[in-house]
């Protein structure tokens, strides 16, 4: 039962991710990727990691998808310019070959590694435990993450908003 559920989650996630990577229309790709991110968060719920599942929904489905959609809409030339120009055949073939080679190595390693046979009951982490760990053991890492997020946000705003050189010379 749980295995079937896991396979179903994996199939939905993988199919929407693969279709998103194949499509020509950028908006459709982003919407399908949102579906795949939701699938990953459903997997987190399935594995008993509710905190991470809600973080995934908030960060990816809520924030990153909006940022990506804004970037898509800000970087098109005309109303009809939604389709991505096709890439060369050899590029696609070599990319699929490289990804297939990586997949073969990964699957070889995963399937041939002996795993402990008994299925453990699984740890349970409630939000109180996670908060204690975050504020106790990992307090320094939490501060560093806060710094990274602040610097990255400020840097993103500065990079996207400054128009210095191109304003004087006009768009190239």
């Amino acid at each position: 039962m749980t295995t079937a559920l896991l396979i179903l989650i994996a199939l939905v996630t993988l199919c929407s991710a693969a279709t998103a990577m194949l499509l020509r229309n950028l908006i459709h790709s982003v919407l399908l990727l949102i579906g795949s991110w939701i699938g990953v968060s459903v997997f987190y719920l399935f594995a008993g990691a509710e905190f991470v599942a809600f973080a995934q929904v908030l960060v990816y489905v809520g924030a990153v998808s909006m940022v990506v959609l804004f970037a898509v809409l800000l970087t098109r030339r005309s109303r009809a310019d939604m389709a991505v120009s096709p890439d060369t055949q050899s590029r696609a073939v070599s990319a699929v070959l490289a990804a297939g080679a990586v997949l073969a190595v990964l699957l070889y390693a995963v399937l041939l590694t002996p795993l402990p046979s008994g299925i453990s009951q699984g740890p349970s982490a409630n939000v109180r435990q996670i908060g204690t760990e975050l504020m106790g053991t990992h307090a320094a890492a939490l501060l560093v993450i806060g710094m990274i997020l602040t610097v990255a946000t400020l840097g993103g705003v500065v990079i996207a908003s400054t128009d210095g050189a191109s304003k004087k010379e006009g768009p190239k």
């Binding site: 790709s29 973080a55 804004f70 890439d87 699929v96 946000t153 996207a160 400054t162």
Partner: protein, 105 residues
């Protein structure tokens, strides 16, 4: 063949990683390349949760905390990456990677 849920999770995340890798390598639109990288990051997070849940010696909440940090870094990466895409589009009027050959001006 696959009898352990951890194995199934690892196969799932390997497939997700390779879909992201193929997407990032094959497309020349920089937004799609960034999305492929996001997929690969998601696959890595999936592994963290899988090992936390089904791994041999589960720690109380370490896996969860690590995924939370990883998601935060991924969000920062997406914000900076898309700001760079917008900046490149402003200067070159294109977000194809082949045409973004200069970083300055």
């Amino acid at each position: 063949m696959i009898h352990h849920p951890l194995e199934l999770c690892l196969v799932f995340s390997s497939l997700l990683f390779c879909i992201g890798l193929a997407g990032a390598l094959s497309r020349s639109n920089s937004i799609l390349v960034l999305l492929g990288i996001e997929l690969m990051l998601n696959a890595a997070n999936l592994n963290f949760v899988a090992f936390w849940r089904y791994g041999p010696s589960p720690a109380p909440a370490t896996g969860i905390v690590f995924v939370a940090f990883s998601v935060a870094v991924a969000a920062a990466e997406a914000a900076v990456g898309l700001a760079l895409v917008i900046s490149i589009y402003r200067r070159q009027r294109s977000i194809r990677l082949q045409e973004a050959v200069r970083l300055k001006g």
